[in-house]
Symmetry: C3
Subunit: 250 residues, 3 copies
């Protein structure tokens, strides 16, 4: 069922009914489940494990090893283990999933999005177009993260969260200076059901409580209590989130 | 004139003088006009119709069928018809044009930009780098939409509009909660000649009147009257747009 | 050492120990140094010159000629000279480097980032994921420019600058109208050590002085003096940058 012009390593295992498009590459020890549809020009790096019933669109890259910056503080680890993708997930065109990332079942990762090493994405979550999920981040189940949102390293996003387009998470209050920044380094934490409006900015380490709501264009400089709406630059409290919008009432 | 290492379906029609680069894929029933230059690693899906004199850069993907999210409200339609691209248009590297999208003549779609299913782009418009034109959106002629702008689903952009980099359009005041959100769902409407400044945010369904002008970094929460400048978070009226900047005086 | 399914022009020169992945294309008169690792589906256009010890990830495109918009003011120049990439640099997945760009040594250009024609990037700088460095821009050494930042055409960034995610630079106060806009056209200038917070917006031609600091979410409408912190929409002065964060104290 595979196109004749592919490069599939002899050690790879490909399940029944799976098709692989032209000019795709499958590396050493890769395992692909049954009934997957792999597009053209897809590159699946060594050791990746893909479940059954996936769709992987053209030019997606799965399981790449990270690049280390010329002055990176990270010591050169041994190679990371392969990426893992759960059953029924969908990966769009030019998606990049790093080695050491784990993606659940029935997840949609839209075109051009990336999930970095050491990060996890829960079942049935939607990672939007060109979203960046940086390294060592945990995203819960049934979340929706929209186009061009930036989820910085060391963030935590609970279940059922909503993050609108062009939202920016940050993790360094010192913008790359001083030694003490390493002690305080960390992304935001969103509790279950938190929602972040379009193009807003969340400062490092801030916590958005359960069902907390940040209005579009806000700059969040302080923690947001549960079930509370904040708005503005800097964001201030504007009242409770309407009852009918709470997670428990959906 | 085509590279020997390509995959071109026997049913595809390719015009005189058109060249197709290495490792490109042309699907069933695709029609490509004369004198096109198709790069390397391009994937043109079944049923796409391309005019004459196009340039399509490396790794562009044309006519892909949409992915449906695991909990998408959209019922699974039958396959969409092929993408249509007009004469003389230019598609950059890693551009994605969906099945069911229609792109006019002499349009420039820059690198990494996407145009989704059911959307139309008018003649001589420029869609900037990594711009997202979501589904069921209409973009007029001679517009300029700049890098990383997000044009949400169900938006309308008139002729001769200007949308600066990193602008965010939104279409859901309820951020994914309640049933009533479906009744109010809709993107902004820009009348002819409207201009939106860099990194500003437009709330759902707001209307920007003819020659209306939104300053950089604004959050637009109310309709903007014709020929009026608004500014700030939230945006307030600051006066008329200068006469010499009106569309009729160009 | 190269994959058998590649397209390498007979006039290209490839150094000792360099490997080229499947479905990659190397054009006329390209020169690649020793000990490089070139991924799958990489396209290196005619005349590009790559140093030694590079890593170039899957689907990167090097040395493409620019697309000209249908109504572009730029006269059609003769073809630009090849891109130049210095020793030890790392180019991520789906990176695009244009013809006529010059990238220094040990530079990291992360996935999906672009560097346009006529621009230069200094040694050991990190260009983040999906960053756009537009044409005729100069970026110094040891800078860090983070995910989705937009560096507009005709910008100048000194050494040791920090630009956070989703920052927007602009270069046209007239948003595409009037003839006088061409006289005033120009991007921001950052002096050495300047730092720009996440998701902020810098208006055209503004100057950020040495060690100047712009807070997250700010809109900079006036020049920022050296060693000064500004904040808000529009940005106002909030005091001096802490001594321990100055470049000279790192």
């Amino acid at each position: 069922m595979n196109h004749p012009l592919t490069s599939i390593h002899a050690s790879a295992t490909v399940g029944d009914g799976t098709t692989i498009g032209a000019f795709s590459v499958v590396g050493e020890d890769v395992v692909i489940g049954a009934a997957c549809v792999i597009g053209a020009g897809v590159v699946i790096h060594a050791g990746s494990r893909l479940g059954a019933g996936l769709r992987v669109d053209d030019h997606a890259v799965i399981g790449k090893q990270p690049l280390r910056g010329p002055r990176s503080a990270i010591t050169r680890a041994s190679e990371l283990p392969g990426a893992e993708i759960g059953d029924g997930s969908l990966l769009g065109t030019s998606v990049v999933v790093y080695a050491g990332a784990r993606i659940g079942r029935r997840v949609l990762v839209a075109d051009l999005a990336s999930v970095r090493e050491g990060s996890e994405v829960g079942d049935e979550t939607v990672i939007g177009r060109n979203v960046t999920v940086e390294n060592r981040t945990r995203i819960g189940a049934r979340c929706k993260i929209e186009t061009n949102a930036y989820i910085t390293a060391l963030s935590t996003v609970g279940d059922d969260c909503f993050i609108a387009p062009e939202v920016t998470f940050t993790n360094d209050d010192y913008l790359g200076r001083t030694e003490q920044r390493f002690a305080h380094h960390g992304g935001p934490t969103l509790e279950a059901g938190a929602r972040i409006g379009a193009n807003s900015t969340i400062l490092p380490g801030r916590r958005i409580g359960r069902d907390g709501l940040v209005a579009a264009g806000a700059v969040v400089t302080r923690d947001v209590p549960a079930r509370t709406l904040v708005m503005g630059v800097p964001a201030v409290t504007r009242g409770p989130v309407p009852e009918e919008e709470l997670l428990e009432n959906q």
